[in-house]
């Protein structure tokens, strides 16, 4: 038994195995013990596969370690990623008890790479939210201060990594759902270019925005996990055809002549003072190390938010139509078909999900389609063009990940617009399909982490990861900060 698994990185775990000091089952057991100890206060996990995980770890053959990049590495998955024979609920009543008959492509790749799925994490219902408070089942608490929200929607995955209950986790990012909770929980979270990671088996929220991505303690672990799950998948027509080139290898490259930029007028952005300071420090560091930091014109963030909520909700209204009580999940038994539909969906979905379905249905309705959906598509095309222009001039854009550090549980739950604004810096990357990563920079005076976002052009994950790696070294968050004291 290992006592302090909380701080282990993937490299640490591999070292333990290669020096043959431990077996995979022991590592899994240690993490399971930590979950048992810490999670009651955090509430990151919806399902923990205790016996199954140890059983799977037992079958791993140490002789195969070299060919398996995640050999014996425990991992947590957001509960909207399908796992064969294991529950996948999207934190929704409507999928309570649902067990998929197939594995998502990322799950197949993780298994192939030797990872062991230790559990599934809490989230905002169907990934709709920014605090994980929209889960139908439980609250998740921020490991840095349990009065605070972990962010969302991948709040469970970010909190699990932050609390050291798993070394890495997968989340999904539709408008910032990996990066924002990573920022609020002081961990690294990234989403690749749209199509970089297969969506096959990711329960759809907004198909043209959704991307699965890694959450880890540092850039290297995140890159490591990204390399495993990326690459073309014939089951996903929107998956990028060309092969993925290694991000871990990109870390070895010199930062070289990468051109950095920040949004024009970044000093006047509507930010919490501590976030403003963190961004200012980042720019200062770069300039001090002799780099030019240009100011670039970013798309209008408010227009981007409107565009995002129209298109994402339109897609969601259609994607969530299948939860009707006919074939699986929750069913309200009724005398007529219409009544069954209405009661099943009325009782099975939470308030935020219903709000999105209503919005999405409205913007697609005949008579409103042109005014909303078509116009939002035009805005999307403009934002894509704006970013194309930006990235023809610079390599990366630096922004805060979130305008504030973590907010208190319950603080924004009744104010959807305030909640939506939490994603103001992250949604543009999903609208344009570009890669983006959040890395922890420093703590706020209240002791809450602040994340910085690095965005790059389409398919330029390598540039993004090199810039993020360089910033991570400068911030030196891991060694400066002792980490959350949990439980």
């Amino acid at each position: 038994m290992l006592h302090d698994v909380g701080k282990l990185t993937i490299a640490d775990i591999r070292r333990l195995y290669s020096e043959e000091r431990v077996r995979p089952a022991e590592v899994l057991e240690s993490y399971l013990n930590r979950i048992e100890e810490k999670d009651p206060a955090i509430g990151a996990f919806l399902h923990i596969f205790k016996e199954k995980a140890i059983e799977e770890a037992e079958t791993l053959d140490i002789a195969l370690m070299e060919s398996k990049p995640l050999f014996g590495v425990p991992i947590a998955l957001k509960d909207n990623i399908c796992t064969k024979g294991k529950p996948t609920t999207c934190a929704s009543r409507i999928l309570e008890g649902y067990v998929p008959p197939y594995d998502a492509t990322v799950v197949e790749r993780l298994k192939e790479a030797g990872a062991v799925i230790i559990g599934k994490t809490n989230m905002d219902e169907f990934a709709m939210g920014s605090s994980t408070e929209n889960s139908a089942f439980q609250l998740t608490h921020n490991p840095w201060d349990t009065d605070y929200a972990p962010g969302g929607s991948s709040g469970g995955s970010a909190a699990a990594v932050a609390a050291g209950m798993v070394p890495v986790a997968l989340g999904s990012d539709t408008g910032g759902s990996i990066r924002q909770p990573a920022s609020l929980c002081g961990v690294v979270g990234m989403k690749g270019t749209y199509g970089r990671v297969s969506r096959y088996g990711l329960v759809a929220f907004a198909s043209s925005f959704d991307q699965i991505g890694p959450i880890g303690k540092n850039v290297r672990d995140t890159a490591f996990l990204m390399d495993v799950v990326s690459g073309h998948d014939p089951h996903d027509s929107t998956s990028i055809q060309e092969s993925h080139s290694s991000l871990v290898e990109a870390l070895e490259e010199e930062i070289g002549d990468l051109t950095f930029s920040v949004p024009r007028g970044f000093r006047d952005l509507d930010l919490s003072p501590s976030v403003r300071e963190a961004l200012g420090e980042t720019v200062e560091y770069l300039r001090n190390s002799g780099r030019e930091v240009r100011e670039v014109e970013l798309p209008d963030l408010e227009a981007a938010m409107a565009c995002y909520y129209i298109l994402a909700d339109a897609e969601a209204s259609s994607n969530l139509a299948r939860y009707d009580g006919v074939r699986y999940g929750y069913r309200h038994r009724a005398d007529s078909l219409i009544e069954m539909y209405e009661k099943t969906r009325g009782e099975g979905f939470g308030e935020e999900v219903k709000r999105r379905i209503l919005t999405g249905t409205y913007v697609l309705s005949s008579g409103y389609y042109d005014e909303y959906y078509s116009r939002a598509q035009k805005v999307r095309a403009m934002i894509i063009e704006d970013f194309r222009r930006v990235f023809s001039e610079v390599d990366v854009v630096i922004t805060p990940t979130s305008p504030t550090p973590a907010f208190k549980l319950g603080e924004k739950v009744d104010n959807p617009i305030a909640m939506y604004l939490s994603d103001i810096f992250t949604t543009t990357a999903n609208i344009a399909g570009i890669p983006a990563i959040s890395i922890p920079a420093r703590l706020s005076p209240e002791g809450l982490p602040i994340g910085i976002q690095v965005m790059a052009g389409l398919k330029e994950e390598r540039k993004m990861i090199r810039a993020a790696y360089a910033l991570e070294k400068e911030f030196d968050f891991q060694s400066k900060v002792s980490g959350p004291e949990v439980g």
């Binding site: 909207n80 990623i81 399908c82 996948t88 999207c90 999928l95 649902y98 998929p100 008959p101 197939y102 998502a104 969506r199 096959y200 088996g201 990711l202 329960v203 759809a204 907004a206 198909s207 043209s208 014939p234 089951h235 996903d236 027509s237 929107t238 339109a314 897609e315 209204s317 259609s318 139509a321 299948r322 009707d324 006919v326 074939r327 699986y328 078909l337 539909y341 249905t361 697609l364 309705s365 005949s366 389609y369 959906y373």
Partner: protein, 481 residues
Amino acid sequence: MNVTEVQEYVPVIGLEVHAQLLTKTKIFCSCPSTYGAEPNTLVCPVCLGLPGALPVLNREAVSMAILMGLATNCTIAEESVFARKNYFYPDCPKNYQISMFDKPLCADGFIEFELDGETKRVRIERIHLEDDAGKLIHEEDGGSLVDFNRCGVPLIEIVSRPDMHSAEEAGAYLVMLRKILRYLGICSGNMEEGSLRCDVNVSVMPAGSSEFGTKTEIKNLNSFKAVEMGIRYEIERQIEVLKNGGKISQVTNLWDSGAKKLVTMRSKEYAHDYRYFPEPDLLPLEVDDEWIDGIRTKMVELPLERERRFRKEYNLSSYDASVLCSEKKIADYYEELASIAGDPKLSANWMMREVMEELKEQSVSIEQFSLQPERLAGLIRLVKENVVSGSAARDVFKEMVKSNESAEEVVRRLGLEQISGEGELEKMIDEVIAENPREVERYREGKIQLLGFFVGQVMKKSRGKANPKLTGEIIKRKLSG
């Protein structure tokens, strides 16, 4: 409908035809698209619409749709876009259908057919691809079950312009459409099994008007007969309403084939808002010239062209040509037969009578028919060369259907070679003359129609083997002498 009414009002008819494509697998997954399997055995996460599953387009379905587009003179779009058609129904597992909306694969074509000796042209507005829904099975206790095997079977929807003006025209258009689909080998065209389905839009307008009346839709037309009957019923109903000063309301009617009448399903107030939008799980469908050229090489001679060629090249009647071209395989069989036998007219006669009757009797298709063209051509040659008589040949045909023997072998086995030796014939004729003195007398008195009687007697005596033509000549000679 009486003649005056037809003159007072002009019906305007458009058809929306759904055809299941004969691909090996479904349109968005690799499940077999076979008909008639045990319920819910041909399903997977994709066609069941399970959470997280994604569609991947079957290119074979696209090729078939393009082939139909080319056959109906459509323009093939370089880029077409799949769209979601949103509606709730238990046979539709995603509660949306993946179809095409404002950017269909094929557009602006036409189909020609002949009706009462006239060539008619009906314009095709569009042909697009979509996935089929499952099938609801209603139980006696009021419950319902769903079979998802059909879910995801590829469909093309062929939408005509409102260019038809009578039930007969609509029927003839549908018949030609089905023939084309079957010629191309992309749809079985079975309306009873639902592999071909037809919805109809009907309106009537006062003669001389250029403004269409309010249209109604007819669904559930599951046979050619139902299509024509439903249209006729609806035209009469609409004229009746208008003549009584009423207005037509925009409704969808279901054809009740038992009661032979239309039942209103829903009115316009309940019309669906399908909230179409581009399917984000699929990329726009791009079709380049290379793909189209490859498909063009699979194009066959189409039924109307072939019918016209048969009439001209083989000098067949319109009726014979249309029957022989009703199915591509029958036309192929006929052409092979005619070419080997070297006699298109005689071959057509054999096709129209014996072959068609035999197929019907055995209820087999021409491909399953035991007597293939080469063997049948052998028989036709024997008839042509007077080796066997027409009546004996029919017996030979029956034998050949049952065995693998050649015509010559059967003729030899049954001893049916036609007797054309004059000596042998004269012997039999003399006997017949001796046996029928009264008829001989009457013939000589001028009742020359009795010649047939004498020939018949000789045929009987020879058990059908006598050459009837030669026999007649000898009898004539003998009795006039």
